[in-house]
Amino acid sequence: MALFNLTINGKSQQVDVDPNTPMLWVLRDHLDLVGTKFGCGIAQCGACTIHLDGNAVRSCQLPVSAAEGAKITTIEGLSEEGDHPVQKAWLEHDVPQCGYCQAGQIMSAAALLAQNPNPSDTDIDNAMNGNICRCGTYTRIKAAIHTASKNL
């Protein structure tokens, strides 16, 4: 066990955990930030996607020891009122079905748009390839990313 100082959603947090603990479980079990979801544990599905210094990363494969000093953003901190352009576009297209993967999808999409405000279909395919949706909302996700891109 060791102490780690983390900056999450603009707030300083301290946790005392095993240094190998993935950020996913630090968020969920120790900081009560349960919007980030567990899907596979091996960075294959993207349900646990968060931002590390603005980049989309799979928190299930990010040990807490590697997250110190970085700016971490989770779905809870993406916007104040759930009104990030990506979140608004998600509502406009009524994207979610079961909703479980959507936090990860939104975090991947927001990171893509931050780096590429006007992505092509292929750019979107590439950026979203790591996020599985078992309900199959892919067509609406893509449409919503295009909508969000116009409203950035």
Binding site: M1, V17, D18, N20, T21, P22, W25, R28, D29, H30, D32, V34, G35, T36, K37, F38, G39, C40, G41, I42, Q44, C45, A47, T74, I75, E76, L78, S79, G82, Q87, W90, L91, D94, V95, P96, Q97, C98, G99, Y100, C101, Q102, A103, I106, I124, D125, M128, N129, G130, N131, I132, C133, R134, C135, G136, T137, Y138, T139, R140, I141, K142
Partner: protein, 760 residues
């Protein structure tokens, strides 16, 4: 056990006739709620087949608060279909509620109070459309009566709109909330006087209504199974029997207990063989203060297993045996005419074998559940369950408790697809909480989910089709072999049940003079369950790829072939041809007929909307299939091409659907969009295999789900306008898609598809 399996419902005659009528007795319970509101409890009776009313005690609650909030209870589980929105929306529409002022709360699992909550079999809307309307209409009538009293006018002069009662032809209006006090002393209306709105009067039904939880979901605030937290809760990760039927001989947990955070190791007794649909597998649970420690603890366990009789099981070997068995005569399930004489006089015989693998559900949310067993002998559960009543009963049984001692709260489900009907994981948590004397969350890992599912059965089928000299289809002989769902509870069940056969096999609808449907024996070596559209998946694949070959042999366009083979518009009865009765998904044929005219209409519609005949552009190929399941008529056209890298791409899909009255049209569309994606995985990427009795695949790296780049790009859903009774749409998108895709791929490559999953 069987009454929990919607697809075997036809074996329970008392379950067959679901005619819900509001009962005057117990019709209304008026009480002051904690919300300070007015509670309107509506009981529905289920009239049994002998006309003997059985009180089903399902209740849908409408509660109106004096601050003008309309609180509606959703009693079916939300796993992505939108049902938590769509059923309350029906009530709200009848009521004349302002949708923005509606609050939805989720019912706990309580059969006496709410009736059937088994969210499965695509029957939520089919079963509850009428009761929801009656519930809403009754509340509306009471509000109108209250307002009419207040104004001294006749109730017929009043209407409701936007959570207000209006006096026609005047500016007089009153908020629902303003009538709550008056309602406390209101007479109950006679159910016979309750008038439902006409279809044309609805504001929400037949439109696109966004899901109630959308905002919570996109902001990370929605509560799924694993999101519930209790003080002093322990997290359990379980090492389960690697082979179904395996038993723990001995174990060493010293290393696990040495891991910081790990508190205890608890053994769970498994059911053995048969494994059962509602029992945990044998396992060793590691409890810890956090998930990571529990996971590490499990890795540190040393367990010696007696692997039992399934340890040499190979799914590949069984599949070959199953295919071979179709060459012999089987058990006849349906017989029309004389297939053998059709075959002996045939000028052309098509004889094909079709193989399909086991599939895992792989819901994005692996099973996760919280149980809190308390000192007073009660237990409270929070579970992403499709079937809270079954979970409640299974927990009560496993812990030896009376039903009222078990409370099951239903969270949102991160996907269900049939997996979360089974309460095995809920029972695990309850047993552990009791043993640990602490609240426990059982967290399944993805590997657990892939290794220990209730799988969609693998299958071998052989279809022999005969044509005469005039290219008429004269004979159809379909052999189907797959380990049955029933075998999970009773190992002696070696043939699929009639219920499973009526998922797209012995309900073969085409007008062919000689038909024989046969089954052959196959034993279950794992836990078999049901997956979105169940045996329709493999049956539709075989039947409709064969229909494409038949069309080719007849020199007909596949759409013309299908229309021709349906013949005149008529209602099918299958009378005198079946071993046993026709189940019709648990509904009477007079209530939900099998009408070939409706099927032909969706076929014609999809051909027109997809521009079927015009798809002759170079590089593109188009495939078609039509399949009715869960009483919903669906026709599907899939367009494929090879992209610049020579990879198969699916630029466009068209569905035409007749599901009766379309309740929430956006959620119908989304189910079809998702169904196409789901079925693409089944067709092309996913398969579970067993070696040495163990599942070979581990996670999403080896059990693959399609990702955005491979997914269909545009999915057009054409909903046929209808005034018929509504039917479900959760499962019907899946079956026709796979053969339509396979037929398109054949057009593109010249290679027929006989085995799933296929590569191009």
């Amino acid at each position: 056990m069987k009454n929990f399996i919607p697809f075997l419902k036809n074996k329970n005659p008392e379950d067959q006739s679901k005619i819900f009528v509001p009962s005057r007795r117990d019709f209304l319970k008026i009480s002051s709620l904690a919300t300070g509101g007015f509670l309107l409890g509506v009981n529905f009776q289920c009239a049994g087949p002998k006309g003997e009313p059985i009180t089903f005690a399902p209740n849908v609650y409408i509660s109106l608060s004096s601050d003008n909030e309309v609180i509606l209870v959703a009693h079916r589980s939300e796993m992505g279909t939108g049902i938590r929105t769509s059923l309350p929306m029906i009530m709200a529409d009848e009521l004349g509620a302002d949708w923005k002022k509606v609050k939805i709360i989720q019912a706990e699992g309580d059969e006496d109070k709410y009736g059937n909550q088994n969210t499965d079999g695509s029957f939520s809307v089919r079963m509850f459309y009428e009761p929801m309307r009656k519930a809403g209409a009754t509340a509306r009538q009471m509000l109108i009566n209250a307002a009419a009293n207040k104004w001294g006018v006749d109730p017929s002069e009043c209407t409701t709109e936007n959570s207000q009662v209006l006096l026609n032809g005047s500016s007089k209006k009153v908020d629902f909330g303003g009538l709550v006090e008056a309602l406390q002393t209101m007479e109950l209306p006679d159910p016979a006087t309750i008038k439902l709105k006409e279809l044309s009067e609805y504001k929400f039904i037949g439109t696109d209504v966004p899901i109630y939880d959308a905002k919570a979901i996109v902001s990370g605030q929605a509560t799924f199974g694993a999101d519930v937290d209790l003080p002093n809760m322990q997290i359990a990760v379980i090492a389960r029997s690697p082979v179904v039927g395996a038993k723990i001989l001995s174990y060493d947990d010293a290393a696990a207990l040495a891991i910081p955070g790990v508190s205890q190791v608890i053994k769970i007794e498994g059911a053995g063989i048969p494994p059962g649909l509602d029992k945990p597998l044998e396992g060793l649970a590691v409890l810890a203060s956090n998930t990571w420690a529990a996971k590490k603890g499990r890795e540190a366990l040393v367990i010696e297993w007696d692997l039992g009789p399934n340890q040499s099981y190979s799914s590949a070997a069984q599949l070959q045996e199953m295919a071979k068995s179709t060459l012999k005569n089987g058990k006849v399930s349906r017989e029309r005419g004389n297939f053998n004489s059709a075959k002996s006089s045939a000028t052309k015989v098509l004889d094909r074998t079709y193989l399909a693998p086991y599939y895992a559900h792989a819901t994005m949310e692996p099973p996760a559940v919280i149980a809190d067993y308390r000192g007073d002998g009660s237990v409270e559960i929070w579970a992403p369950t499709q079937h809270p009543q079954w979970a409640r009963g299974a927990v009560a049984g496993a812990l030896g408790l009376e039903l009222p001692k078990v409370k099951v709260n239903v969270t949102l489900l991160g996907g269900g697809f049939g997996r979360k009907s089974k309460p095995d994981f809920v029972v695990e948590a309850a047993l552990l909480s009791k043993a640990a004397k602490a609240p426990v969350r059982v967290q399944w890992t993805r590997e657990d989910d892939i290794h220990h599912d209730f799988y969609h059965s693998h299958s071998a089928q052989r279809i022999v089709a005969t044509l005469d000299s005039s290219k008429k289809l004269t004979g159809w002989n379909h052999h189907t072999v797959f380990p049955a769902i029933g075998a999970t509870g009773n190992a002696a069940e070696l043939h699929p049940s009639s219920g499973e056969l009526e998922l797209g096999c012995r309900d073969f609808p085409y007008d062919v003079p000689n038909i024989r449907i046969e089954t052959h024996e196959s034993a279950a070596h794992t836990r078999i369950g049901w997956l979105r559209s169940v045996s329709n998946i493999h049956h539709a694949f075989a039947i409709h790829t064969m229909m494409d070959e038949i069309a080719e042999a007849r020199g007909l366009d596949p759409v013309e072939n299908a229309l021709d083979l349906f013949g005149e518009d008529k209602n099918l009865t299958f009378e005198g041809e079946l071993e046993g009765d026709f189940g019709n998904y648990g509904e009477k044929l007079e209530d939900f007929p099998w009408n070939t005219g409706r099927m032909k209409k969706v076929i014609q519609d999809v051909a027109a909307k997809s521009n079927w005949k015009a798809h002759k552009d170079a590089g593109k190929a188009v495939g078609f299939a039509a399949h009715k399941s869960f009483l919903t008529y669906v026709a599907c056209v899939v367009i494929v091409e090879k992209d610049a890298n020579g990879q198969l791409s699916i630029p466009e899909v068209h569905y035409s659907v007749d599901c009766g009255v379309g309740v929430n049209t956006d959620r119908i569309k989304s189910q079809f969009e998702g169904g196409a994606q789901f079925a693409t995985s089944l067709a092309m990427t996913s398969a579970i295999t067993f070696e040495n009795g163990q599942v070979v695949q581990n996670n999403f790296d080896s059990y693959q789900i399609i990702r955005m780049p491979q997914s269909p790009k545009k999915i057009h859903v054409h909903i046929l306008p209808s005034t018929e009774k509504p039917t479900g749409v959760g499962e019907p998108p899946v079956p026709p898609y796979i053969p339509a895709l396979a037929n398109a791929v054949y057009k593109l490559t010249g290679k027929r598809i006989y085995e799933l999953p296929f590569k191009v």
